[in-house]
Amino acid sequence: MSDASLQAILAEVRGLRERRRTAQARSRLQDALRQFPNNADLLVQSAWTDYADDRNDAALATVRQALAYAPDHEAGRQLLFELQLDKGKLADAEDIIVELLRDHPSSAAYYGKYAGLMLRAAQLPRARALAEEGLKHDADDGACLAAQTLCDFIEQRPGVTSHSLQQLLVRHPQSQRSLLLLLMALQDRGDDQGAFQIARELVRADPGREDFAQLAAQLQAATHWSMRPLWPLRRWGWGASMAIWLVGMAVMRAMAPVTPVVAVVFGGCIITYAIYSWVWPPLLRRWMART
């Protein structure tokens, strides 16, 4: 098999994988690997195909075999990074990404991946610094913009949030990552209706993803008419809860000497509201998930 036909097989496998035809890609690779069992490119593609099918252990074994033949294989090291990250071995993943950055110091994508890793390790300042560094190399890089937006979310910097998210939505308006971040921003703002619409877009794009469907179910429950009275609690959380109690108690105390009956009814309403806010949302969510 010539180098050209090997390249054609590799390109074909990548194309099949992109179109979710992993079984066909695997069979193509098996044929090629029978001829070239030690070819690192074929082994790495085989590992990526396993990874696409969530067969992470098989992917790890194959990529290690590939890296034994070609330790500097870039796509192999990228996959090893992803696998270590998925396993939660953050220190090992960091070693790999640092090596990759050493070899490709101007790659914004690697800075973005490193920033994502730092976010998982709750190292916000380092994550932000890495994302900013990556954006110096490529202002449109999706991973860096996403990492920066997540930093903003965590640090609660609403003004900056909108800027990085804005850039992400301009550069990658239809990517799942952008939509998920927009959904978070809308939820953060208490706009459950808008967030639900985004969740529907996500389900439309990938209806096989159960996590998207669950997210949509949760938001559907949150936007149900019977949840409207609970809006202040959903919007401002514990703050709203405490405020309602304090105001309620104060009003009740003020009313008690003047109109005790009304005060009792008012107190009953407050308690009913509290029970309703506590019991109804989980019941509704369960009902929504079942129907």
Partner: protein
């Protein structure tokens, strides 16, 4: 704050405000950011389906990017929609394209030289067996729909024209695997008395730059030269994979070429009925489903109880059996596809044969064999139906999946 910043901020808080998005897309186009503008116009098209304004903008953006064939295709699409406005530049290009006579290929000289008959790749021809609707079990209602929507317009275009009923465009058959989409397509070809050309992924996809597009163009060219002809694309989601999900430029260019061929700009697609089948309609590029392309989508569901009973009768013909209540088995195989029923019967047969070999005494196929087989087999359509349920429940407000919704309700899955 600049106007652009202001619009971007507004879009962030109101992502579904189509007017603002339109304003933003125009602003980007004026700033010569055609690629970004195109993405925004595509979003407008999604938000305002059926309006010309988004498609017009997309056509202008594509023109700005130098992708003229695609620009013309979008412009032609916009022309059929309300709110269409003439664009001088695009009109000029369109008139130049019209001047070309006879069938032509848009993808030529990619690997050197035009596409002559020798370059046209050979197609998988249907075997000589003449499958007709009467031969397919459990599709009676579907056959009537297909006759009205596909076969009659193809055979009697004049009648439909007199009633001003829109015809033309392709048909997309979708549904769970193993439910007979390919066989239906074959039957359509035979009912239309047309040649049947079946195209699989391997006939088109080639990873050398430009080759897939050339293959696709050649396939359409061959179908045109053999009109009346049914051109059937199996697993169309692989050939027309949604561009918004694709990472590679190759995937996008294949879809663009497919769209150009379907629109038949500068060519004559009369006499060519394009059919396609997919298990994953949600992965097909939305542009493929617009009017004039695969605007008619038909759900091919698993067979109903009566259909399953008939299938069991045929598949068990001549097999020794003892008091099998096929209607009862059919009732217990809800959501089973034809392929699943084959699997079930094979398993039941294996059990009877194993007993015969162990006991040394032959016995007919009995109810117990089917009970045991049914406890092991689950319908392969369930995963598909669950995925479709997510789509119908949360994202099916555009009626694209109305038939699926009806089926899911009937199956008590929704």
């Amino acid at each position: 704050m600049t106007q652009r910043d202001e619009i971007e901020r507004r879009l962030l808080s109101q992502p579904f405000d189509a007017d603002t998005r339109m304003q933003y897309a125009r602003l980007l186009l004026e700033a010569n950011e055609a690629e970004t503008a195109l993405a925004q116009f595509d979003l407008v098209c999604q938000q305002q389906a059926g309006q010309a304004v988004g498609h017009l903008g997309a056509a202008r953006a594509l023109h700005g990017l130098g992708r003229h064939a695609e620009a013309l295709s979008r412009y032609a699409q916009a022309r059929a929609m309300p709110g269409f406005e003439i664009d001088e530049d695009l009109e000029r290009i369109e008139s130049q394209a019209r001047r070309r006579t006879g069938p032509q290929l848009s993808v030529i000289s990619g690997g050197g030289g035009d596409l002559g008959p020798s370059n046209v790749i050979s197609l998988q021809r249907a075997p000589e067996e003449r499958v007709r609707f009467a031969d397919i079990i459990g599709v009676d209602a579907l056959a009537q729909t297909i006759r009205l929507k596909i076969i009659e317009p193809f055979l009697n275009p004049g009648l439909f024209q007199r009633f001003r009923k829109q015809t033309g465009g392709g048909i997309l058959l979708y549904g769970p695997p193993g439910c007979g989409k390919t066989m239906i397509a074959r039957a359509v070809a035979n009912e239309c008395n047309a040649e049947f050309l079946s195209v699989g992924i391997a006939d088109v996809l080639n990873m050398w730059i430009g080759e897939s597009e050339r293959n696709l163009a050649a396939l359409f060219e061959k179908a045109r030269s053999r009109a009346p002809c049914v051109l059937f694309f199996d697993e169309i989601d692989a050939l027309a994979y949604a561009r918004s999900k694709a990472h590679s430029e190759h995937t996008r260019t294949v879809v663009n070429e497919f769209l150009a061929q379907l629109d038949g700009i500068g060519r004559d697609n009369r006499g060519v009925l394009v059919l396609a089948a997919t298990n994953m309609p949600w992965d097909v590029d939305p542009a493929m489903k617009r009017p004039g392309r695969f605007s008619r989508q038909i759900f091919v569901s698993p067979p109903d109880a009566d259909g399953r009973r008939k299938m069991l009768e045929i598949k068990l013909e001549g097999v020794p059996q003892d008091g099998l209540d096929l209607a009862a088995i059919a009732q217990r195989t809800h959501n089973f596809s034809g392929a699943d029923l084959d699997g079930l019967i094979e398993l039941a047969k294996e059990k009877a044969l194993r007993d015969a070999l162990v006991n040394g005494k032959e016995r007919p196929l009995g109810r117990g064999d089917f009970d045991a087989a049914l406890s092991e087999v689950r319908p392969s359509t369930l995963d598909w139906l669950r995925t479709a349920r997510n789509l119908v429940r949360y994202a099916g407000d555009d009626d694209s999946y109305r038939d699926v919704e009806a089926y899911l309700k009937k199956s008590k899955m929704l």
